[in-house]
Symmetry: C2
Subunit: 490 residues, 2 copies
């Protein structure tokens, strides 16, 4: 065995344990009895302790000094392990465990606070999470920018400065488009009526199948906040069901299928290695968003969905595929990011990005977060927040310490715009397939061009090679202006 | 912090990780997509590697040398940790991991072989499991009896010699009772008809509630082979549903509720410590069997079940509570241990006990197991096995390496007989409660007298103190003769 082989054998067990920890997180959100929350936080902390000790083990440092890469793949494996090791050695194990313990508990506290509209009940644990992440960020940054250090965990190489500049270029076109759309004389009708929960779940399963989700290596369950989880041969998805809002269930499902197809599409040779997972959250989100929006909300695919809904639920007010397409893509004021239309979605992210940077830098105290959120929301969206579950309690993210994560959602949209331009240029007859409820030609192109490479290259490089051009926000904005211009007759 | 505190803090993380590994096993049997089996076996092996390394860590040996017990509880904690450490240091980590990997894979191979009636497809992996367990047993026995060393893992202090002697005393009375019952002129009618799956599951939930199962710290799911899993605040149960066999679903549920109530009934101060789980498999089985049989199959409780079934399923052929009681307790020839009546159940165990000892000692080769099983079954039960799923493929146990486990089932029945005698002597009005569908007075007595103590004392001592007398097979056999004598008019 070479030094490289020793290192990879060790790393394989670490990756397997990371999968176990991930599945424990899945269980917590889907299956765990409520009364187990406190015990679970100790279990999560113990797993994090094991993982952190393995990732920062001095043997890894020794192996990394001596291991020799013989090709592109082994070079990439070593690069990923070195990145993980460098980050792990900077963070004390006790801090890593404390973060796991507190964020596991905080999740339940957030859910209860959201249900009760109880901001004060959430603030103490949020303050604790912010403090721990500040401490972790400072350890990682080693004198550099703390927020950048946190963001780098989700999107290697990304910085607040570059991301902020991109947002500055995007905002004027998005704001202008929103103004035109909301002022247009043609306004699509919203969907009305009640749609049975079981029939929604059956349709959600069929939508997952339409995009090529491999049920032999995954499953669909309910969760308060839909998510996907797991790599290799076990990539699970979740959705939610509200009888008045079937689009919520359907598009959550398609979104999570995008994430899961990425994981399931990675070269099987990379399973349980550092290359065997999506390369970054931004690239991950590019897959979920292109499935959900550019494909799932396309005129062709919504035509098929319209027929499916009429068959399954009977008549429901909308009587033509054109009306249905417009309704699916309807732009309207709203509080909730995850329910936002494509035009406004990134404006939500820009707000979170600014607020969370201020929390991490200490410019904004958690005690003042609600006021800051509500003031900013009124300024950006022209609407006053009516209750905390429509405001700062709407997302689980901060409770679980995901600071630096929100901007990757927008980056994903930008990448999805680029990938969609390339996909359309290369895959002929895609609309004909989509119109028959078959999105697998798109999944196949994405698997071949992007998904299968896993963590082989940097996030930007991964997208650039898939597209054949350097990614920027242009294609996304062009797509949005064309699509919504057409729907709203601008 | 004292040495004892250091050791307990370390041990607490080990216990938390053991809970994680257990939950992974639960997931594998209830939720895991089929295609994830191979990856899962690596995940299980990695967890086992972590657990084994922690349990055999030289620091534990050092702490054990210096730690001082100050009371009964700390003495018991140290005794349990020493036991775990002594076992762990004898088994090489690579063997422990290999066992975890192979048994995780073997489970799926067994399930497939059983579905296809394919003994040859199962033999190679069974041979591998036997070989690994022989190796482990030899390491543990250190020159002593290999089978005893394996059995000791499930039932500390038990030996094949003492168990075999108990079986020798039980067999004549059981065989005589069976002969009288099967030859009786009065024979109860079997249950006939089809009972909707969803209504069965609803009734299963209500049965669990009737025994005081804490839904806030558990859940009920479907599994091929019902089991319970988890300690502390997360003790889950499973059942199965066959439309023609509602008793299968109901009594599997009550059985697993017995296991789960034991775990959930342990003193919360012991959570995530070595005392925080059932003390042995035999004592565990005493709880599941007393719930299932002495309580769940009692005249009083079946009277309530009869009314419940009539309300939920309508008329179903049996028209009186007396007939229903007899039908629930009907003795009939059958192949399957888990479906065996109380009279014949222990005869199944005696057969397994002999066969598995021969496998472990090498007297019986796995290639000859099917022939040996079928010959023995014919001799003991007077019936020729018609297919492997009714024979050696009926149980998951050997595929997952559970050699030395079967005798604890009979020990559990024996302990249940003793506990039932004591319970009936002390809890007045129990039949009145059971007749109203409320078994919680029994759960409360068992919790107070036995369950709450967890691993504080040895298995025998635990039962003896709960009963107020030294346990033996007498009360069980007396109970069986009285009950079946009355049902069959002997």
């Amino acid at each position: 065995m070479s030094v490289y082989d020793d290192l990879m054998a060790y790393q394989r067990e670490t990756e397997a344990l990371a999968q176990v920890a991930g599945r424990l997180g899945w269980d917590q959100e889907t299956m765990m009895p409520r009364g187990a929350a406190e015990q679970r936080s100790e279990e999560m902390a113990a797993m994090e302790g094991v993982l952190h000790a393995r990732r920062s083990d001095p043997r890894v440092g020794g192996w990394l000094e001596q291991a020799v890469a013989v090709d592109e793949v082994s070079a990439a494996q070593l690069r990923q392990i070195r990145r993980s090791y460098d980050r792990a050695v900077k963070v004390p194990g006790s801090l890593a465990q404390e973060l796991a313990r507190v964020t596991s508990m905080a999740q339940g506290i957030w859910a209860e606070a959201r249900a009760k509209e109880d901001v004060p009940g959430f603030l103490p644990v949020l303050a604790e999470v912010v403090r721990l992440r500040q401490e972790e960020g400072a350890a990682l940054a080693a004198g550099g920018d703390v927020y950048d250090a946190l963001m780098d965990d989700y999107e290697p190489g990304a910085t607040a400065a570059v991301t902020g500049a991109m947002f500055d270029r995007m905002r004027p076109r998005l704001v202008a488009l929103r103004a035109k759309v909301l002022g247009a004389s043609r306004q699509p009708a919203p969907l009305k009526g009640s749609f049975g929960a079981e029939a929604q779940m059956r349709m959600a399963r069929d939508l997952a199948t339409a995009f090529g989700y491999d049920w032999n290596r995954g499953r669909l369950d309910l969760a308060v906040h839909p998510f996907s989880s797991g790599s290799g041969d076990d990539a699970r998805i979740t959705t939610r069901v509200v009888e008045a809002e079937p689009f919520n269930c359907f598009y959550s499902t398609i979104h999570e299928v995008g994430h899961a197809c990425y994981e399931l599409g990675i070269d099987p040779d990379y399973r349980l290695t550092p290359l065997g997972a999506g390369v970054s959250m931004g690239v991950h989100e590019s897959q979920s968003r292109i499935y959900e929006n550019q494909l799932g909300r396309s005129r062709a695919f919504t035509g098929w969905m319209f027929e499916q809904m009429r068959e399954r639920f009977g008549a429901f007010g909308i009587t033509s595929p054109e009306e249905f397409y417009a309704s699916v893509n309807r732009v309207a004021p709203g509080y909730i990011r995850t329910e936002a239309d494509e035009v406004q979605y990134n404006l939500h992210i820009m707000m979170r990005f600014d607020l969370e940077r201020d929390l991490i830098t200490g410019k904004l105290d958690v005690a003042d977060l609600e006021a800051a959120w509500n003031a900013r929301f009124l300024a950006d969206f022209g609407v006053a927040v009516d209750k905390p579950s429509h405001g700062m309690l709407q997302d689980v993210h901060w409770s679980v310490g995901l600071f630096g994560y929100f901007p990757t959602y927008s980056l994903g949209n930008v990448y999805a715009g680029c990938l969609h331009r390339a996909l359309r240029a290369e895959v002929t007859g895609l609309d004909e397939s989509l119109a028959k409820g078959d999105a697998t030609p798109a999944t196949e192109w994405l698997r071949e061009r992007l998904q299968r490479h896993g963590g082989l290259r940097s996030p930007r490089e991964t997208v650039a090679l898939a597209c054949g051009f350097e990614p920027d926000e242009g294609p996304l904005l062009d797509y949005l202006e064309a699509k919504f211009g057409s729907i709203y007759g601008l």
